[in-house]
Symmetry: C3
Subunit: 358 residues, 3 copies
């Protein structure tokens, strides 16, 4: 298994994903054995926007493998990238490091970085686009807490419309047989059509709910996310509805005994503090699974990677740029234009935005 | 010896303190032997307010033991803690790390953190309340430079009123027999009553002085601190008095040959630069003793700690909150209300503020 | 060989420099062998002004030797140095660390630091004055890409007037026999007289050019630097001339097959992106040579340094201060006044500014 980049979790085959999941558990149970596994190796964490939590989870994973860390955490504090192209920064940093973890406010930035890197690249978030190691964390948690990735009734509660991590999790779990989804949200913040259409195409069962209380009894897993106050249509609506999507002891008392409650953290008030002591609350354990999941991924990528060398940059497939204003190709002019055809449509290989071809 | 937390130096018994002091010297003389003592261990330095010097002294100590570091140094730069409770951050971080060092602007924050941490917690300063490893450093320096913690005449010069480190040092040393204290300051900045009352209760000898020059000949140890310009009653007063509490060669020439001069650093101008070359000036050595003291403490805490597990959170002792506006319980609402009775009074277990019970 | 400080590359003898160059290549070819060479050692990177790229190159070098890192990267984020003298910071930090790397906005700061440091000091840039490890990097690159430091025709293109790195490189290479220099720039940004006078004195051949296109065919090495837009006499002049000093494929097609193109990076648009794929473009390799060069230097300095002890501070040679407003002696008042006589002139030992003695 050679994983040169992890930009999108769907790049991994089912077998590769299961390999990573299984290694996560081995590491958890034998962490001393892996303590020097990446001795002498360097991870560069290139954070073009700050995300201390994500950066620390990667750093912890690398340090627990005996590796070392360089990097920056904020372009405002950093002279790197000051007027320098992403390509140049990646060329230099991939000469310094053995693996790159990149977070960037623009969509497709991690893919763009992978085109010029001599070492493996992990996407730690590219704008509102993807954040594959969060989903990897969620799946690892589900596997070790429920012992299955299939035949689960999975509730997702909160902001379904803007939830990058929820979309990615649903895509991943919908390819395992027998999973059913319940989307619990306000009408305004329900799951976008392109997700539900995908599910319909795949023949996956799903339903909508506007009440956590009513839906919780049937769930095997509950994935909580936050609804930001400003997402409600009005202040009155916020006051009227805010409690509906908050998990508290009363609602939890209606759930199955073996329900698994997850949350990508940080939590604000969508889960009452009283829930923390319930054995079904697994969100802090989930943060720890995130370390094992990343350790596992790093091992696969560093061990699997052959000699450091520049990848071959693909040639432009078309002679125009992606129209998505948040696509990395908007600011990094030297990037080749890369689109994949899907029926009538063109899909940008960086940001996955879709265009109708004329 | 199992030390799960160091919030207040007075938690340590005399024997435990002497253990740590003695190990500090062993480490100093055999540092290569301890070079990998914490191999594979991670320290999280969670600095909710910046203090580069303190953070670097902990980091150096951990690195010299072969350990590794994660953490943040400034909430403004950090997405951790953004709207996240202290409890949640500690729950997650104590899953990542093997020991936590916390600095926080609110009093009692380190104690609050210790309630939710799966790994040992060291207080690196909680507001104006405590900073136990500075006092540990001072005591280690005194031991190795004077070979005694008792029977010393100890001068403290500068701002006695607001000097957290001086108060803590006096409390610690006043429990060793035969020590006498001389408090050298302006009348406005003299030692608070609760400190001198404690000394009187314990039967410890002390006196007040308004002249460093007059008092220096009798001292065995001189602890210098800074008087900030704005602490003087007026600009004229400042101009008139500023020299009185500055240690220079002229004053030092009146002192004993084996006086030990300490300063918690950074120094501004309360010690003239010319003093640096005098063999009695030990403040730079003191900074190095701070490394050995912290190395010793870290070893005791990491080695002494059994399997990582959540502590049992105590139940509230009373049904009201501490009234100290700088107490951590003011902002972290989920914290149990914990007070200890002392005669008529209640003492907050977080910030140690005292209230009369009605 | 004992190197206690590297403030100015000219402090190294030819033999010492060649030693470092040769070790760089050995490290490159046997990096696993050096992986733990500085195990247990700590580097303090004290960056009084941010320079993420330089800091990361030193950090990477130290980490690749198995060493560890402490430090700060920005006085605004840092409480170190807040009202603390450079001397005090260095005294404390040189007690914590085994080697210090300092960058400071004032000229002569690294030399001043070396006066008070118990461990070796490397200058990572002191204002507009010196940046010796960049030149070391350039020379290492030239050696391994051209196999000679002599008998080369060396073109320097861009801003010759303000180019600290170019000046230093010319000084270094002009002491090897048979080198010729071509300075390619606008008349306004040509090489300062004191550099060309030095070359004339040494009998070194050089010429001026205002066309990269015309000069490129004769070159063995081309050192590109950036001309900042605001350095041109006017916006019109900028528009008219900007292309003249840009290296693109068309100009490169006129060059020798074994030309070596270097650039200290970051590059803005003075080298067209299309040039990156040409085998003569060596600027990304140069960044990697910078790691090997620094690893080599660190080994020589840490291995060569005897027991940590304070150096003897020299006494003032004169009773006045250096008049250069950017000299470190302007702000750090305790520094001795140190001047060397050179004919009629006095040269400040910190910032190398020259004064006529009256």
């Amino acid at each position: 298994m050679e994983v040169k980049k992890l930009i999108n979790l769907s790049e991994l085959s089912r077998e590769e994903l299961m390999d990573i999941i299984k290694l996560s558990g081995v590491i958890r149970d034998n962490s001393a054995y892996y303590m020097d596994d990446c001795h002498g190796k360097i991870m560069a964490t290139l954070f073009y926007e700050p995300s201390t939590r994500t950066q620390m989870s990667f750093q912890t994973a690398m340090l627990r493998l005996g590796g070392k860390i360089i990097g920056f955490d904020n372009p405002q504090n950093s002279s790197v990238s000051k007027g320098e192209s992403l390509k140049d920064t990646i060329r230099v940093m991939s000469g310094y490091a053995d693996i790159i973890v990149i977070r960037h406010p623009l969509e497709g930035a991690a893919y763009a970085a992978s085109l010029y890197s001599k070492c493996p690249v992990i996407n730690a978030g590219d704008g509102g686009h993807l954040h594959p190691t969060q989903t990897l964390t969620d799946v690892v948690t589900l596997w070790y807490e429920r012992h299955h990735l299939s035949n689960q009734t999975i509730g997702c509660c909160g902001d379904m419309k803007n939830g990058r991590t929820v979309h990615s999790l649903i895509r991943c779990l919908s390819s395992y047989k027998g999973n059913r989804f319940v989307f619990i949200s306000t009408p305004e913040l329900q799951m976008p059509d392109y997700i539900t259409e995908e599910l319909t195409e795949k023949g996956v069962e799903f339903s909508f709910s506007n009440s956590l209380e009513e839906s919780i009894p049937e769930l095997d897993m509950l994935y909580m996310t936050r609804i930001q106050r400003e997402r409600f249509p009005s202040q009155e609506e916020y006051e009227r509805q805010k409690g509906v999507f908050v998990l508290d002891e009363a609602k939890l008392s209606l759930a199955k005994d073996d329900l698994v409650v997850m949350h990508p953290l940080p939590r604000v008030d969508e889960i009452a503090v009283e829930v923390d002591d319930d054995p079904r609350a697994k969100y802090f354990e989930q943060a720890e699974y995130g370390i094992y999941a990343r350790m596992s991924l790093i091992i696969k990528m560093i061990k699997g990677s052959s000699k450091k060398e520049l990848p071959e940059v693909p040639e432009s497939t078309h002679d125009f740029k992606c129209g998505n204003p948040r696509c990395i190709t908007q600011t990094e002019q030297y990037l080749p234009s890369l689109f994949d055809e899907r029926g009538d449509e063109l899909v940008c290989r960086y940001c996955e935005h879709t265009f109708v071809q004329h």
